[in-house]
């Protein structure tokens, strides 16, 4: 399975970037659609499913800025981070299906995965717990003299957790190279922002740590990309962390079993018009970065790649029960 499209050398850089963004956003969308709308309903997915539909610009726009030494700590709606770091779609499907081929070999499910070979730390369920861990990762990078940055992802709701505060504060005091990336999709499960925090923006929390905080249109992948470049440049230059708040909307229920009746009428429609994939495609057409035919071809290629990935995952075996007690410790 290839994970990146060929990029023409003579194309203008924006066009090439747009193409990569489109590819990863489309891959994420298609993978999650298959998981949520097909495999989940077929009973092939083992546990819960949380997708990032409509929020793909955030993992894509940010992770494409990351350099090889950077370390990613994605949250549960950041599937594209895995793709961008070179994890194959097949392994992701296998993960969701509880198969040996998944990143956790069936020990954990869905987005609870990571692989240090790809520079990805797996989340745990407890929200924001990766935030102090990101600080520790950044400390280690600096300690070892590696010019890397930790990318720490979380939702709006996660910022209410004590761990979030402790992690951001510690990173700020230590001036650690961390980019804090908030997916502010305006809901945390059924809880709207106003019941989560009294301030209007997550970025309003930057001054509490004396770190720069920027708000970006989270449905505009190129804007996210550009802001992330600023953020990474800041964090990577010894000035300490940078907080990037990406405003977006959760275009689904919290998980596959949540119909989101609590979301006021009209919001899905309104935000649907700002779909990051549609918007990018329109921009590409308008700027002349691509023609409709190329877009169609790209979409078909994504479908084919995902078909193959699903097939690969389905032939991956379930883990052997005999391995149950292995790997709790280095050696028993």
């Amino acid at each position: 399975m290839s994970t990146t499209p060929a990029i023409g050398m003579d194309r203008q850089p924006q066009a090439a970037l747009a193409e990569r963004c489109l590819y990863y956003m489309s891959m994420m969308r298609e993978i999650e659609d298959r998981i949520e709308r097909k495999l989940y309903r077929q009973g092939k997915i083992v546990g819960g499913v949380y997708v990032g539909r409509g929020q793909e610009a955030i993992p894509v726009g940010t992770a494409l800025v990351a350099r090889p030494d950077d370390v990613m700590l994605p949250a549960h709606r950041d599937l594209a981070v895995f793709l961008i770091r070179g994890v194959s779609a097949g392994r992701i499907f296998a993960q969701y299906m509880g198969r040996e081929g998944g990143l956790t070999r069936g020990r954990d499910g869905n987005m609870h995965m990571g692989d240090l070979k790809h520079g990805i730390v797996a989340i745990i369920s407890a929200l924001a717990a990766t935030v102090p861990v990101a600080a520790g990762v950044a400390m280690a990078l600096r300690y070892k003299g590696i010019e890397g940055v930790a990318f720490s992802y979380f939702g709006d709701g996660a910022t209410s957790r004590g761990d979030w505060h402790e992690g951001v504060n510690f990173a700020a005091v230590q001036k650690l190279p961390v980019v804090f990336i908030c997916n502010n999709n305006q809901y945390a499960y059924s809880t709207p922002l106003s019941a989560q925090m009294a301030c209007a923006n997550v970025a309003d929390r930057g001054p509490a740590y004396n770190i720069p905080a920027e708000i970006v249109d989270g449905n505009d992948v190129l804007a996210v990309h550009e802001a992330t470049q600023r953020a990474r440049a800041h964090a990577g230059s010894g000035k300490g962390p940078y907080l990037l708040e990406c405003k977006t909307f959760r275009m689904t229920g919290h998980s596959a079993h949540d119909a989101a009746h609590y979301v006021p009428q009209g919001l899905f429609e309104e935000w649907g018009k700002m779909d990051p994939i549609t918007r990018l495609e329109a921009r590409m057409l308008a700027e002349g970065w691509a023609g409709q035919e190329a877009l169609d071809r790209a979409r078909a290629a994504v479908h084919r790649e995902v078909d193959e990935a699903v097939a690969w995952a389905e032939q991956s075996p379930f883990p052997d029960a005999a391995t149950l007690e292995e790997d709790v410790y280095e050696s028993r």
């Binding site: 499910g109 369920s125 029960a321």
Partner: protein, 323 residues
């Protein structure tokens, strides 16, 4: 009209809220949404936002606020969305709530509801049975009902109790078990175990979802001629050592069963209790059937191997019976 375990908890809370205006609920997504498992569905509409408080994602604040409200004489019932997240409010429970009465005579009437247990493909963070963190902490009461009757009776007792109670409700039982409940108000006392099945040859001592496993195993063993008693602890703290010891005095053999992992599990406390108190009555080793010492795995073949089940219980019990 049969009532599920989940509905029993719902009813218990509802009735207590009707009975006592000081009872109120707080937690994540328990209001408009009715809770992740819909245990509080309809409460917000009926009791209003004053008594059904949706909170930010802040387990320490949820428990801390419950403590503060409890100190002031209210009777908060705090929901952890999953028992696994109770670790995020841990200090508040084990250091604040548990020690107030002893330190300065202040009552903290508070219930922390913790949906626990595996078998639902929840993986390492939505399946744990963390009761022992609290059983070992003096000052807390710990409850883990197995039946709809007990779930309702115990949630009501927990709400009326003047000490902090950690209420473990097994997610796997929510919609799986049902029974007819009395129409009238009743409670089940905290601290009293129940003999769920009488027997002469061997005692299985257990609690929570494993009570059903034990009963099924006892049924199978009966076909082989073994008369198995099943003791449902219902409450882990205060532990009803009398009922446990009385059963083993009678049968002389004890199999300790829990879904929680082995090392440091409740079976240890039971084993120590038994060898201390009824050593002379024992006609065989005390054996344990528990989950192994691993995180709860996600994939079905692993989770199945992880969880104790009827076969494992029957096998061990048979061995002990023949011992």
């Amino acid at each position: 009209m049969s009532t599920t375990y989940l509905e029993a908890i719902r009813q218990g809370m509802w009735e207590e809220m009707e009975r006592d205006p000081n009872v109120f609920l707080l937690g994540e997504d328990i209001g408009v949404y009715g809770g992740a498992f819909k245990v509080t569905a309809g409460f917000f509409e009926h009791f209003g936002e004053k008594r059904v408080v949706d909170t930010p994602i802040s387990e320490a604040a949820i428990v801390g606020a419950a403590i503060g409200a409890g100190l002031m004489g209210l009777r908060p019932v705090a929901e952890m969305q999953f028992a696994d997240f109770i670790t995020c409010g841990f200090d508040q429970i084990v250091n604040f709530a548990a020690k107030c009465r002893y330190r300065w005579g202040a009552a903290v009437p508070m219930v922390v509801r913790a949906p626990s247990g595996g078998g639902i493909h929840g993986g390492p963070f939505h399946s744990q049975n963390p009761e022992m963190w609290f059983v070992r902490t003096p000052g807390l009461k710990v409850v883990a009902p197995a039946t709809a009757y007990d779930a309702k009776g115990l949630i009501k007792s927990a709400i009326r109790d003047n000490d902090p109670v950690i209420f473990f409700e097994h997610k796997g039982l929510y919609r799986r078990i049902k029974e007819d409940l009395p129409a009238e108000d009743y409670t089940v006392p905290i601290g009293v175990a129940k003999v769920a099945r009488e027997g002469r040859d061997l005692s299985i001592i257990t609690y929570g979802a494993m009570v059903w496993t034990a009963l099924e195993a006892a049924g199978k063993l009966a076909e082989e001629g073994a008369s198995v008693e099943v003791v449902d602890l219902r409450t882990l703290v205060p532990l009803d050592r009398e009922t446990v010891c009385a059963s083993v005095k009678k049968t002389s053999k004890a199999l300790l069963l829990h879904e929680d992992t082995r090392t440091g599990g409740m079976a240890g406390e039971l084993a120590a209790t038994l060898t201390e108190a009824v050593f002379e009555y024992l006609d065989g080793p005390i054996v344990r059937v528990t989950a192994p010492d691993t995180p709860v795995p996600y994939s079905p073949p692993l989770e199945q191997a992880f969880l104790p089940n009827v076969e494992k219980v029957v096998e061990k019990a048979r061995w002990l019976w023949r011992y």
